[in-house]
Symmetry: C2
Subunit: 306 residues, 2 copies
């Protein structure tokens, strides 16, 4: 090991992490809300960076007609400085979106595909096969692509989906060039048992995107952690959900997961107090309380006034 080249660039301390918490609030969280000005979105992302989040799904390059709250992605990215140790990610629905994202300076993309044929059809009007082909093309662009498999723990249309089938889809996406796969519990149907069944098929080197629809987001994360999973998508305040599945609101809240991981001694690089500041900012920007219970009650370390 060497000390590396001496430069005038100030050294930043990027904390080592045991678990990667990918913050999806500025994208997945805000997309279900009334549109916010670019400046407000940049401010929220800045607060999340301040809190120590190192991977942030910041924008999506989707049709502004289809998702008005995600308009102005290039403007959001233009306003964000490059920060050592922080990776911004854009969700892209197709090749056109991917090209716009690269033009806007993004160097990491997220794409989605569903393990549920009916959900895929409703969400993107493509068969799963068509989506897989489109994703492989995007993976050819030369930047890391995380493929998110939605309805990985069941679908409100087909019910349970066999873990072997879900894992096979993930495997196919990796073969098609995806750099990683994240399995999403889009409609809150995951349970510790079903997390275990999927991990038995995929191995632990996966991401999980969990929902609190049925109050199981945190317990599923804990069960996954026990199985060796080290990558989780969460949303500040628990904002977000899917407009295509009734009752699917409620991403696992970043602060609820960080609160748990802190207590377990698992490093995330995130400062919980600053994260709660970001959560309070998110609540004030969207104009309603956020679902996170830690945001409402405060961390366990916060005692009653003397």
């Amino acid at each position: 090991m060497t000390d590396g080249p001496k430069t005038d660039v100030p050294k930043t301390d990027v904390p080592k992490t045991d678990v990667i918490v990918r913050e999806v609030g500025p994208r997945d969280g805000l997309q279900a809300e009334e549109p916010l000005p670019v400046e407000a979105r940049v401010r929220l992302i800045g607060a999340l960076v301040e809190a120590g989040l190192q991977e942030i799904e910041a924008v999506s390059f989707v049709s502004p007609k289809a998702v008005p709250s995600m308009a102005g992605a290039a403007e959001v990215m233009a306003a964000l400085p490059a920060i050592e140790g922080v990776r911004f990610v854009a969700l892209v629905p197709n090749m056109k979106g991917a090209e716009l994202a690269l033009a806007a300076g993004l160097r990491a993309l997220t794409v989605t595909i569903s393990a549920s044929p009916a959900y895929n059809e409703k969400n993107v009007r493509m068969t799963v096969e068509e989506s897989a082909v489109a994703i492989a093309a995007i993976c050819g662009l030369g930047v890391p692509v995380d493929a998110v498999v939605s309805c990985a723990f069941g679908s409100p249309y087909e019910g349970d989906i066999a873990p072997g089938e879900v894992a096979a889809l993930g495997h196919r996406l990796l073969e098609g060039g995806a750099s990683s796969v994240t399995y999403a519990d889009t409609t809150g149907m995951a349970t510790p048992r079903r997390v275990g069944e999927l991990v038995a098929e995929t191995g632990p080197r996966i991401g999980l995107h969990l929902h609190e629809t049925r109050g199981t987001g945190l317990v599923n994360a804990y069960a996954a952690l026990e199985l060796g999973v080290r990558r989780f998508d969460t949303s500040v305040g628990g904002l977000g959900g899917s407009p295509f599945a009734a009752g699917a609101a409620g991403n696992l809240a970043t602060e609820d997961l960080v609160h748990l991981l802190d207590d377990l001694g698992v490093a995330t690089g995130v400062d919980l107090d600053r994260l709660l500041d970001a959560s309070a900012l998110a609540a004030s920007l969207v104009g309603h309380p956020v679902p996170s219970r830690v945001a409402a009650a405060g961390p366990r370390s916060r005692l009653a006034p003397a």
Copy 2:
């Protein structure tokens, strides 16, 4: 084995259970609500019996001035039929309450004491020592007494309380005649790590009374289950909380735990659909939605309309 005596009494099928779910909604849940008529409380208890709950904290014999919503305990009990396989329990704050409970036909009692001196003082205006002496006297009455140790995972006044101290209090209560001890996370400070630390001191033959104050009720129950704990207090709909600790609202919801246990193949004797009927009844009686997420979203088995 013999078939037992033939009688004309219809045989009831009391389901075998792996885990005892003690329903505390009619007592702990309703005490924080506006008073309900005796008839409504009896109806809710009946719905919980219908759902298959075999142990129900039905009433408390406390001062009607201090807790108006718990007035009329004897009337509630008088209206409840004896049901094979169902045990009704009353919370009693002192010897006078215990005697009233026995006079009303109760054959199982719950008492509380706090691991937090400050909380005990605020809650019952006694030192922990005075409470332990009073509990030992109640244990002399000859019916099973479950001693609930509140603030077992920390207190908003003192912060963390050493698991060894908490376990020592529990041990003392057993020596004083308590038939069982339940450790309560009164203010939602428990985490899987702290559950593990307490169980390491007490062993798994304990009950846990968990709260969702910080969204950790279900994950704590799961962690305890993994450690062999087989007794949980829950409240239908997640109703309840403590009036003496800010932000302490939210017992672990019975339906959220049963939903998880069902999926894990752990028998509770409870029928989730009937339990959701009882939860809907509870919501209509108290006049507001209940906090349970399974009550809001429905069980994972409930698919979208075709």
